[in-house]
């Protein structure tokens, strides 16, 4: 019950972690099933339709329901601590964002049990995703489930922006802010400007499918290429929504374990902003083969390649930070160091793909699959592992086992390269993406076998990580406030796990790497910026949960509003939007309750603070 009503950002972080982890597991099982189907030519483990559903759900689940929430978990766990705040700007909205994400994800996954999952790829290209080619409710689950989940993301983005702008501790100027806080800030800005585009795209597709509109239906005057524009003007920034937080994590972990300040801090900030900006200008590099003009292709090719410049700056800054530091390879730093070459390889194939003429060869082959997995898995997932191992003690008060951590790292990274390195060659030899099988003796057989074995190894690495979590959770808490001993930023200046009010006294920030600065000056902790006083806390409330349930019901109701059911009553309820209305009523009712009853919150008094 606690968990349903909580508005504490640290608990919401844990909720995001469990829910994201669950979906990540589902997406992982889907990946293994895909790889099992491709282990040998002419395999008949699954049929073509199921295969389409598997790849669609794998991609969609991994991106929207797996890694994004885990990113949000880390942001929620760390950001208020790093900027010296007692809370986020809007604790209530924070909870609401989590619950809408969760119910959107549940809706999407219900499709497996309710007549077929979405089957048009995670990009849902029209007209393939129109009713003419995708007649089940699959794509409706996609449009409506993602819509609800996306709402949660948008809420989270606005909340982090407001939090970082207004809640920083005294002295924490923007140019003293830790890199992870910076990348969270920029990521949230990208979310704010990219997600509304996909919101519209999903609405239009929903209208096409459920209300018979003609946006993407050529026969009615609509344009399928329009979908691609809308999708990618969201979709390309989306990949930066994923990777920038990973950059932030790497920029925290490396200085800590190299015991040196981050090389080129201000150029890192500048590069982050530049990447975000360019990220919005390059979407059509996903559409080189749709027949835009050669001029358009050339412009988008060049602007894409420009992104390599700020990215290169980042890579060199990390290397220079490691260079000459007294480097300690604890698990977080293993992942962070493994990230650098792996991500760089993904970047190189990215520049190759950005060359429009070459892309006519690479397009929709396994070369593309290899490229984006190098970036998303070799980059982002490695970054997340680094971050999870690094902040685990802060989140749970317990150190993860170093031995098991190293096992995780080595099985994961070896499995990863086995899986995806060979896919570059499969692609160059012409193996198409999204086909459910291939003919024997095209030189595809061995490499596919290798790839599947690698996937199994990655799965094993995940299991080691889960075992680590399980074993650790049964031990008593053992982490001190600064368990890595070389913590530089504010979150390490308070106990682990942090008390619900975070800081007994708001700290005074006197420079970059605020905590490190105090430590080198010989101080034990931060200098407080205020006397001990009573601390105001927001109260727990079930309303965010109720609101999300309402939206969930409304979504289901709308989805089936054109169906015939065997029971006349059920048909009546759905066809007249009674169910939809009921769902909306629940949501608006909860909003009304929220506005009628003032929630003054409660206070933690100084005596209580001292008592601990």
């Amino acid at each position: 019950m606690d968990w349903i009503t909580t508005v504490d950002h640290k608990k919401i972080a844990i909720l995001y972690l469990w829910a994201g982890g669950l979906f990540f597991g589902i997406g992982g099982i889907e990946a293994l099933l895909i790889r099992w189907q491709l282990i040998k030519p002419m395999n008949d483990f699954v049929d073509a339709q199921t295969f389409n559903e598997l790849i669609t759900m794998h991609g969609t689940t991994m991106i929207f329901l797996g890694v994004m929430p885990i990113i949000f978990a880390l942001m929620n766990a760390v950001i208020p601590l790093q900027i010296g705040a007692r809370d986020v700007a809007f604790p209530f909205l924070n909870a609401l964002g989590f619950w809408t994400f969760l119910f959107g994800g549940l809706l999407l996954n219900l499709s497996w049990m309710m007549g077929g999952a979405p089957d048009a790829g995670w990009t849902s290209y029209t007209p393939l995703s129109g009713t003419a080619y995708s007649g089940t409710h699959g794509v409706d689950f996609y449009t409506i489930g993602l819509q609800i989940a996306g709402l949660g993301t948008l809420i989270g983005g606005i909340n982090f922006l407001a939090t970082i702008i207004t809640m920083r501790a005294p002295g924490m100027s923007f140019m003293r802010m830790p890199m992870f806080a910076w990348t969270t800030f920029i990521t949230s800005a990208i979310i704010l400007f990219a997600f509304p585009a996909i919101t519209v795209g999903l609405v239009l597709l929903t209208f096409d499918r459920i209300l018979g509109a003609n946006f993407f239906v050529p026969g009615g005057g609509g344009s399928p290429v329009l979908w691609q524009h809308i999708f990618w003007i969201f979709g390309h920034p989306e990949v930066y929504i994923l990777i920038l937080p990973a950059f932030g994590i790497i920029s925290e972990v490396i200085p800590t374990f190299a015991r040196k300040r981050l090389f080129g801090y201000s150029s890192m900030v500048f590069a982050t902003i530049l990447i975000a900006f360019l990220g919005f200008m390059v979407w059509a590099h996903h559409m080189f083969t749709t027949g835009l003009s050669p001029v358009a292709n050339a412009l988008f090719a060049v602007s894409t390649m420009l992104i390599a410049v700020p990215t290169g700056i980042k890579i060199f800054n990390w290397l220079f930070t490691l260079w000459g530091g007294s480097v300690r390879f604890a698990t977080p730093n293993l992942f962070a160091s493994g990230f650098i070459p792996t991500f760089t390889m993904g970047g190189v194939t990215g520049v190759m793909l950005a060359s429009a003429p070459a892309d006519f060869q690479f397009h929709d082959t396994y070369f593309v699959v290899a490229h984006f997995h190098y970036v998303i898995v070799g980059g982002l997932v490695m970054g997340l592992f680094a971050g999870l191992h690094y902040w685990w003690p802060k989140m749970f008060g317990r150190m993860l086992s170093e031995t098991l951590g190293k096992w995780t790292f080595w099985t994961f990274i070896i499995g990863f390269h086995l899986t995806f390195f060979v896919q570059h060659f499969l692609g160059l030899m012409g193996m198409q993406r999204r086909v459910f099988t291939y003919l024997p003796n095209q030189h595809f057989d061995t490499l596919n076998l290798v790839s599947t074995i690698g996937a199994g190894l990655m799965g094993a690495g995940m299991l080691v990580f889960l075992a680590n979590v399980w074993i650790t959770s049964r031990k008593p808490p053992d982490a001190g406030g600064d368990p890595w001993e070389d913590g530089r930023t504010l979150e390490w200046s308070i106990p682990s796990p942090s008390p619900e009010y975070n800081f007994k006294q708001t700290p005074l920030v006197r420079g970059l790497d605020a905590f490190w600065k105090e430590k080198t000056a010989g101080n034990k902790g931060m200098t407080p910026a205020e006397p001990i006083g009573s601390i105001h806390m927001p109260s727990a409330t079930p309303l965010p949960f109720v609101m999300a349930v309402g939206i969930f019901i409304a979504g289901l109701g709308f989805m089936f509003s054109r169906d015939d059911f065997s029971s006349a009553l059920v048909s009546f309820l759905f066809n007249n939007y009674v169910v939809t209305g009921l769902g909306l009523l629940i949501t608006f009712g909860a909003m009304l309750v929220r506005s009628l009853y003032d929630d003054h919150g409660w206070h933690i008094e100084p005596e209580e603070l001292e008592g601990r």
Partner: protein, 208 residues
Amino acid sequence: MTTTHAEPVHGGLAHEPEKATAEGRNKVLAFWLFLGGEAVLFGTLFATFLALRNQTNEGPAANDLFHLPLVAAATFLLLVSSLTSVFAIQAMHRNRPKLLRNWLLVTVMLGLGFLGLEIYEFSQYVRHEEFGMTTSAFSSAFYTLVGFHGAHVAFGILWISLLIGQLGYKGLTVVTAPKLYISAMYWHFIDVVWVFIFTVVYLLGKVG
């Protein structure tokens, strides 16, 4: 934080009560951000409309449909309602809750008038021109863009009405003031979007 929650300030309200508390300031800031997102939302809808506005699929085209006098009347109502919401906020800053309430009521009435005209307009198209959601890509884009705006107006009316109720029940405090202030921001935003719709959809549809 220590002082975010608030009680009515005795002996006069702060000059800008919407910014008197940290929570209020956060709300105003976050609402600006939210409007940034809304701008992208409408931008995408406008782009879609522009891409599809000539794809009439042998159904009615903009030129056959639109009656500018009706649209002009609707525009007038909405523009004036923006003005009255400014008066409302001015009344709030002068700490005159009754006047505030009255201007809000006028705003809501004007909004309802706009919505009524729009519903009348749509029903004319559907009934007499056989121009529905499914007719053409143009019709889909038209109803979606203009309808989305209409839904925003409807939501705004509902929201402000509830706030009027809350004002009666709780009075003008540093808790209610930020809500009233951001609802006015929202209302102006809707108004600005309508100016674009009037230009891009109706005027361009008549002449272009």
